[in-house]
């Protein structure tokens, strides 16, 4: 099978967070849960100040600390060597959250049937429609748009990116666009020294 992965080119990313919004709409994640998020950081003082932008989601490691940590096998590798969570097996111990170096995981702390996006208001029809897909007490994260990909589409964040800074494809195939771009841009994974072998690559990371 394939080994799906992604490249995010920080040289062209404008930090609009459209990827995070597209992810929320695609997956109907409950309030305050982001499978895809954008981290903003400011460094230094004027005139040497700099703003840093980093979109982060599950890195789909080949040697994933979360999969090792999970006591029930709920976190596992799928046929495309991506990390997935079987909610029916998850006991909500959150050991995977402690294990993940990328802060990619969130627990479904609240009951999605009663939680709301807008505090003090009722659920929107959109939330109600998606609530049953997010059982309470389990840990969730990016699924690399498994359903879309099996239909031949690209993940929602890749599809929506306004500067086309995200590339998706088969890392095993040296001729895929994503593999070529990774080589061309000299992209590296995040926090390589932990040896987690992520399937997400970043171009333009500061050293």
């Amino acid at each position: 099978m394939a080994h799906y992965g992604m490249l995010i080119d920080l040289n062209t990313c404008v930090g609009c967070a459209a990827c995070a919004v597209a992810c929320k709409i695609q997956n109907g994640t409950p309030a305050e849960m982001y499978w895809c998020k954008v981290i903003y950081d400011e460094e230094g003082t004027y005139p040497h100040a700099k703003k840093r932008v980093l979109p982060v989601s599950c890195q789909h490691c080949e040697n994933a600390p979360c999969v090792r940590a999970c006591p029930t096998g709920a976190s596992h590798y799928d046929e495309n060597r991506n990390v997935q969570i079987d909610y029916d097996r998850c006991i909500g111990c959150r050991n995977c959250m402690a294990a993940c170096p990328y802060e990619a995981r969130s627990c479904n702390w609240d009951d999605p049937a009663t939680n709301t996006y807008f505090k003090g208001f009722e659920q929107t029809p959109f939330e109600t429609a998606h609530a049953s897909k997010h059982p309470r007490g389990v840990v969730e994260k990016c699924v690399l748009c498994r359903d879309r990909v099996s239909e031949g589409k690209r993940p929602a964040c890749v599809q929506t990116c306004i500067t086309e800074s995200r590339y998706f494809g088969d890392l095993d195939d040296p001729d895929s666009t994503v593999s070529k771009k990774i080589r061309e841009l000299g992209a590296r994974p995040l926090l390589e020294s932990y040896g987690t072998k992520p399937a997400l690559y970043y171009a333009g990371l500061e050293e």
């Binding site: 998020k37 950081d41 096998g73 029916d88 170096p101 802060e103 627990c107 009951d111 007490g137």
Partner: protein
């Protein structure tokens, strides 16, 4: 309450009724809070995606340690044939059994999807330290129960044989608990010295709790340990405190010396968010009790021994707090681009609820008190029945 009446007919004093009622009420409140937290639509704990573990895991670690310490003392008495310590084997094993049950209780209330708990038994992941912990804790519990039965029967030979299995398992049970944390590659917990630190702090806190328990049992009139025995246990406690302090100092020196990324985690422990707990332990839980107990004259004073023991137990609880939360406050051994500088400063505007830090909610505190009350009650009832039974058997 019928148990109270039957044991009251025995030779020793009955359970104090007022204490039983208070403990039962606290237990009921705690259980009520837990059921409410399961039924409520919103999370009632202080946990978040930044600090996914909170007070339950802190207290879980503490109770595993308290339990292991009790059994290490009890089984050492038989393995190394330390005659005077054999006398306290039964109360020590009862305490150890009750503490490990309490630890299991804290794990169960901590699970956010307890309905799937059976998955631990049908599809365990053999490389997860949590799976090892489940196996070791259950083995340990079974050994404890068999040990109690054998001690009550007075079968010294079988107790000696069982103690040779119980001692390594007691050491293992706390090592595995340490490995849950110390095998997390990206956390500041990732250090080989964690298991030794856990085992030694189990020995000091467990022994301290045993001393407190023995003094209480003596006050209740159920068991007489004798001043000589308390004195020699206090001497052993002083040794454990010194080893504990040494191992912690080794770890902190190694973290801070290169002045690199881990020094940031060290500053969280020494001067940052976790500092009050660290200094409470270092001064209140290690330095003061050691300075008291190192003098033989002080070890003869039961009041000083009790105060020191209580300080050691509280100190080890503080250690669990700074250990766990320094791992979440300064999460990564190297500077991580995933965690920007402002993240842990408590910026509420961060995306994904990653900002903010942990404080236990009222519900979590009440549940914690409830579980502790429940198992204090179980300890009192078991001691009342079992120590009484043996005392009667001895007099006949």
């Amino acid at each position: 309450m019928s148990n109270v009446k039957t044991s009251a007919a025995g030779a020793h004093k009955p359970l104090p009724r007022a204490l039983i009622i208070v403990l039962a009420v606290l237990t009921a409140i705690g259980l009520g809070c837990w059921f409410y937290s399961l039924a409520a639509g919103l999370e009632v704990g202080g946990v978040s995606n930044v600090s996914p573990w909170g007070i339950y895991i802190t207290v879980f670690m503490t109770f595993v340690g308290l339990s292991a310490g009790g059994l290490i003392v009890a089984s050492s008495a038989h393995v190394f044939n330390i005659e005077p310590f054999k006398k306290v084997a039964l109360p020590a094993v009862i305490m150890s059994t009750v503490c490990i049950c309490a630890a299991l209780g804290f794990i169960i209330v901590d699970l956010r999807n307890p309905a799937n708990m059976w998955r631990l038994f049908t599809g365990p992941n053999p490389v997860s330290p949590l799976t090892w912990d489940v196996i070791v804790i259950f083995t340990y519990l079974v050994i404890n129960i068999i040990d109690i039965v054998l001690l009550v029967r007075g079968d010294e030979r079988k107790v000696s044989i069982l103690s040779r299995i119980a001692l390594p398992v007691a050491i293992l049970v706390h090592s595995v608990t340490a490995w849950i944390f110390s095998l997390q590659v990206a956390r500041t917990w990732y250090t080989a010295i964690m298991a030794p630190i856990f085992v030694v702090s189990a020995c000091d806190s467990g022994l301290a709790l045993l001393i407190l328990g023995l003094v209480c049992l003596e006050a209740l009139g159920w068991f007489t340990a004798g001043r000589e025995l308390i004195k020699s246990l206090a001497g052993l406690l002083a040794t454990f405190i010194a080893v504990d302090a040494f191992l912690i100092a080794c770890e902190l020196l190694t973290m801070g010396y290169p002045g690199a990324a881990e020094a940031e985690a060290l500053s969280v422990i020494l001067t940052g968010a976790a500092a009050p707990y660290f200094w409470l332990e270092a001064i209140g839980g290690l330095l003061i009790p050691f300075c008291i107990l190192v003098f033989a004259k002080n070890r003869e004073n039961t009041t000083l021994v009790v105060v020191s023991s209580a300080l050691v137990v509280l100190g080890v609880l503080c250690k669990r707090v700074w250990l766990l939360f320094s791992g979440f406050a300064a999460p990564y051994a190297e500077n991580s681009p995933v965690v920007p500088g402002w993240l842990h400063a408590g910026d509420a505007a961060s995306m994904g609820g990653l900002a903010g830090f942990y404080a236990p909610s009222v519900f979590e505190i009440l549940v914690t008190i409830g579980i502790v009350a429940l198992f204090t009650l179980v300890f009192l009832v078991l001691c009342n029945k079992l120590l009484g039974a043996r005392a009667e058997a001895n007099t006949q």
